[in-house]
Amino acid sequence: MDGMLPSENGGGEAYREAVNSGQLANTYCRHFLITNQNPDGGWGYHRASPSSVEATSWVLMALTSWSQAPALTETCARGHAWLLQAQLPDGSWPAFPGQRQGCWTTSLASLALHLQGGSPEAVVRGLNWLLDAWPADGTLWWRLRQFLARSAVVHQDISLRGWSWTPGTASWVEPTSHALLLLRSLPPGLLPPRAAKRQRLAERMLYDRMCPGGGWNSGNPLVYGVAGVPRIGPTAWALLALIDQPQRAENQMSLDWLARAYAGIRGATSLALAHRCLAAYGRQVPPLAPALGELYLQNRFFESVLAVAWIALAWGGEGSRAGKTAGESLTS
């Protein structure tokens, strides 16, 4: 598990020094991801756990963000093949193979395949499924029910729709952001005309769901008139999805919130996402290594494949410039 870091037990200060100096990035992350690939070619959320579409997609994106060293080529090819095999006949991806229904992971799998290159047919099939996948909220019937119920629970424009986590449920910030990241990454020639409408509607939905004062939570900015508290993850995803409008007041306000919250982050995934997002917008952000090193020493990131993949993506973005496209903001 430690890979190429000095041994924790025997290393003492050398171990701490290695962790804090950046070796965690250069050796540990890559080693961890490569050695934890399952025999079937995919990755699970943890070592030796069943391959999942989400984990595999993020690892592929992380590996793609590194230079394509020959040693990675075969690893990536096997991951790519696993993703293709996991695609359902309707073009969607489930959370795990064997599940009969596609879901939010379709955006991630399509994005991973596209960024890695190759398999455009699979990407287009995923895209078409997403474009046809409307959430259950926002329909005329739904809006009528809300009107008749005179619902005062949440205050948001219920005509705006993005994407849901699972079919038949409501729009939420994170799956909407992931779908937007995919749409913005694909070449215009690949996008059917209906994509533009969904993109506009989803962007409006995200701005509508922003918490008062900036930032996003899962998608409830006001409940019973009380302002929702923003969260790191949804804020970072929404900002990355809306990166084409960097100077918009909502983006700047949310970046300010994220920058203020940065110092208090206590989880590796949140830290990596926040760092990646702030760097993508060209904001000054403290180097990742010391903070991540402390977390690693505390809990080894709970040996989470997802955490290590996001950390690798964040490290790929250190010193990156602002003004990138959504896809570039994730992987370069």
Binding site: W165, T166, G168, T169, W172, S218, Y224, G267, Q298, A307
Partner: protein, 308 residues
């Protein structure tokens, strides 16, 4: 595992349940000693069992108002080990916050449990298996559930004493929403809301009924719970061998009428006991610890003594 405990029994066929109320004014007390004394009254079959503690961890909240306090989790773990459990793990799948590590590090769970890797499981990212639900209160029929939960011999629901702006109160039954994995259903697990919160609570608990419940009421939450309410010091731990009876007792302590809380009323028909005459009370009496909780205006009908 707890599926073995999921047998649905009409109330008239179910033996009386047992609930204990323990006074505890502060998290600085020796909670392990207090809990152990109370737990010994239950004669639990724990020897050699794999115990799973399911606290309510919602979001990073250093203030200690939103989440089950880690001191209670640590004390419970110590007690179940002392009572002969082979292993005691802690597992949670927060409903809104993906970064579970951030939650457990912010509340300093490590300080009470020791190193967390291997001991704490993020149920949102666990291996999952499809399980047919034991009831059809909702249209869900089947859910993917975490291996860690399915393999446990003895599941303990360990929630905080809180009001809930939609269903009145969130206690040991509602706490089981946290076993539904985010990796399949998202953050939030919106499929449960669309299936109906009350109905989903019933279906989940009929399938993985907690074997025991311990409610952290040392400091609870009133008003716009379960996240945006305010702290309500109540000075109690409420525990028992029937999650319905424990929740009903909690509701009575909070000044609410359990039979008016929809999911509790329905759970009282098949999942456990709601009526006081079927609940053997240990420790403090309800009257001696009753601490009325403020609820939102829309939920005033749940307050005991108000017109139904």
């Amino acid at each position: 595992m707890s599926l073995a405990n999921s047998r649905l029994l009409p109330s008239f066929n179910r033996p009386p349940s047992c609930v204990a109320i323990v006074r505890a004014q502060s998290y600085d007390l020796d909670l392990g000693a207090l809990l152990f004394q109370a737990l010994r009254e239950f004669d639990l079959p724990l020897r050699g069992k794999k115990v799973l503690l399911k606290p309510n961890f919602v979001e990073p909240d250093p203030g200690g108002v939103v989440n089950t306090h880690p001191a209670v989790v640590g004390a419970a773990r110590e007690c179940f080990l002392r009572l002969g459990a082979e292993s005691v793990r802690v597992a949670e799948g927060p409903g809104h916050e993906r970064d579970t590590e951030a939650i457990v590090e912010t509340i300093r769970l490590r300080d009470y449990l020791g190193p967390l890797p291997g001991l704490f499981v993020d149920l949102n990212l666990d291996e999952v298996h499809p399980i047919t639900l034991q009831t059809r209160a909702s249209k869900l029929r089947e859910l993917y559930l975490p291996k860690t939960v399915l393999e446990a011999d003895f599941v303990v629901s360990l929630p905080k004493l809180k009001t809930h702006h939609w269903v009145g109160a969130t206690l040991s039954l509602k706490n089981m929403f946290g076993i539904v994995p985010g990796c399949c259903y998202g953050w939030p697990k919106n499929i449960l809301h669309w299936a109906g919160i009350t109905r989903s609570i019933l279906d989940i608990n009929s399938t993985v009924r907690p074997d025991f419940a311990i409610v952290d009421g040392i400091v609870g939450m009133e008003g716009n719970g379960p996240i945006q309410g305010i702290a309500k010091p109540s000075g109690v731990l409420i525990l028992g061998d029937d999650p319905v009876a424990v929740d009903a007792t909690c509701a009575r302590v909070m000044g609410l009428a359990p039979e008016r809380i929809d999911y509790l009323a329905k759970a009282g028909t098949l999942l456990g006991h709601l009526k006081p005459d079927k609940i053997r009370q240990l420790g403090e009496s309800i009257a001696s610890v009753r601490t009325p909780f403020a609820v939102l205006p829309t939920l005033q009908k749940l307050v005991a003594g108000n017109g139904a």
